[in-house]
């Protein structure tokens, strides 16, 4: 119970820092919308007619946007901890490194999910995906959106799981912003790929198209979470 209480406090602290000024959320939302707009300009104004093509386009835009936004968020998350030795202060309270890891993953996850809830409908609207969907799917639009956010959430969890540990490492380097993305993007490739495949399937058929890709997505997210959880202690020891 004590563990949950401590993790809860740490999450509260992180979320309070994130949302107190609203700067970060505003910045990331604006950034994400800009990325989506650039894609719209590149592919538009007339998007592919076929549902399958449009679904692929929307899925790739969504995932690319959230990857960029996620990388920026992760970069910032450890800056706050490193500044003024806040991390050492936290460690001096006797808190376990794994609690610190879990709380970071959860707080960044919550932040990114919020972003995804805001940006996903905007993207679908901008790319005009909804009008090409079959009527049966259009009638169940809220349900489809929910499933879409669900898939994005599992992918985001896998991304945050590795992202937190890598950003913990990269804050110690010179040129950390570019380094984080160079290491993180190839590492999270199984999650991104499986997530993108599930998203395409959802946007074109409304279903996941079998259990295969969703299994890869869930398994890899959990494997990343478990291995990073075990290794995080080594990252904060110094």
């Amino acid at each position: 119970m004590e563990a949950f209480r401590q993790i809860g406090w740490l999450i509260r602290k992180d979320l309070a820092l994130q949302f107190r000024t609203k700067d970060m959320l505003a910045l990331i939302v604006v950034f994400s919308v800009l990325v989506v707009l650039i894609f719209c300009f590149a592919f538009g104004p007339i998007f592919p007619e076929k549902l399958e093509e449009r679904g692929k386009l929307a899925a790739s835009v969504l995932w690319a946007t959230f990857l960029f936004a996620g990388t920026i968020t992760l970069n910032r998350s450890f800056d706050i901890e490193r500044a003024n030795g806040a991390l050492h202060g936290l460690r001096l309270t006797g808190i376990d490194a794994s609690y610190l890891y879990l709380s970071k993953v959860v707080s960044i996850f919550v932040f990114l999910i919020l972003l995804e809830v805001i940006v996903t409908p905007i993207t679908l609207q901008f790319l005009d995906v909804i009008t090409v969907l079959p009527v049966a799917l259009q009638e169940q639009l809220p349900w489809l959106l929910l499933k879409l956010i669900g898939v994005l959430a599992i992918g985001t969890l896998g991304f945050c799981a590795v992202g937190v540990i890598i950003s913990g490492i990269s804050t110690h380097t010179h040129g950390k912003e570019s380094l984080l993305s160079v290491i993180l993007l190839p590492l999270t490739f199984p999650v991104i790929m499986a997530g993108a495949k599930c998203t395409v399937s959802l946007l074109t058929t409304g279903g996941l198209g079998g259990n295969f890709w969703i299994s890869v997505l869930v398994v890899y997210s959990l494997v990343f979470l478990a291995s990073s959880y075990l290794l995080f202690e080594f990252v904060v020891e110094g």
Binding site: V162, I165, I166, I169, S170, H172, T173, H174, G175, L179, V182, I183, P186, L187, F189, P190, F212, V216, Y220, V223, F224, S227, S228, L231, F234, V235, E237, G238
Partner: protein, 222 residues
């Protein structure tokens, strides 16, 4: 003769033997003819690459447990050699693909995932060069372990999803006997080459450390 030299000589002998077996002993494949000979070095390099990254992962774990610098050095040099074998895979692959699939490069599962795996390990080397000395070893070990998690998805990519052009992982077990022998010998030759390079690079890395220590001492004296 030192052990490194012995392994080097063995690797050289086996490479020549492998060339003999590949070109004179193994039968010629019926559809691709001589071009198929690339197979023996392409697949063996790919398997050696997995072996090299496996060694990196293993020694990274050992380093985190025991904190012996030697293990970290082995993990580093194994990654470097793995990347070199990656270059061999990505050079022989397109040459073969040009004749077998009529294209130099194709975005099929194994190619794409292998390229991303290779980039992951280049990221490992970049990270190492950007870290301060005291953090370098621990952080590299952590990354060496996490990076290995992507190896299964590359190895099983052909079975995992359809649409690939690479044959599945059991194909190499069902080859005609002459081809199988030639393949096993060429793989053994490349493993020996890997071992030789590992020992050679390890020694070089040790010497670099010794040199650093001497220079540091001299700076202290002056």
């Amino acid at each position: 003769m030192t052990r490194t030299q012995l392994v080097g000589v063995l690797a050289a002998i086996f490479l020549f033997v492998a060339i003999y077996f590949v070109f004179s002993f193994a039968e010629i494949e019926t559809t691709m003819l001589e071009v198929q000979k690339i197979f023996y070095f392409h697949i063996s390099s790919a398997l050696t690459l997995f072996l090299a990254f496996g060694v990196t992962c293993l020694f990274s774990i050992l380093y985190l447990i025991k904190r012996v610098d030697k293990y970290d050095t082995i993990a580093l040099v194994s990654t470097e050699i793995g990347i070199v074998f990656g270059v061999v895979v990505f050079t022989t692959g397109p040459i073969w693909a040009r004749f077998a699939w009529n294209t130099w490069w194709n975005w099929e599962p194994r190619l794409t995932s292998a390229l991303i795996l290779w980039l992951t390990y280049i990221g490992y080397l970049i990270l190492r060069s950007a870290l301060a000395e005291e953090k370098k070893r621990v952080y590299s070990a952590v990354l060496g372990i996490i990076s290995f998690l992507n190896v299964p998805i590359v190895y099983f990519s052909v079975e995992l999803w359809q649409g690939g052009l690479h044959p599945d992982t059991t194909t190499k077990m069902n080859l005609p006997p002459t081809m199988q022998i030639a393949w096993l010998i060429s793989w053994l030759a490349l493993i020996l080459l890997y071992l030789f390079l590992l020992m050679f690079r390890y020694r070089a890395e040790q010497m670099k450390l010794e040199l650093d220590t001497i220079q540091y001492q001299q700076m202290g004296e002056s």
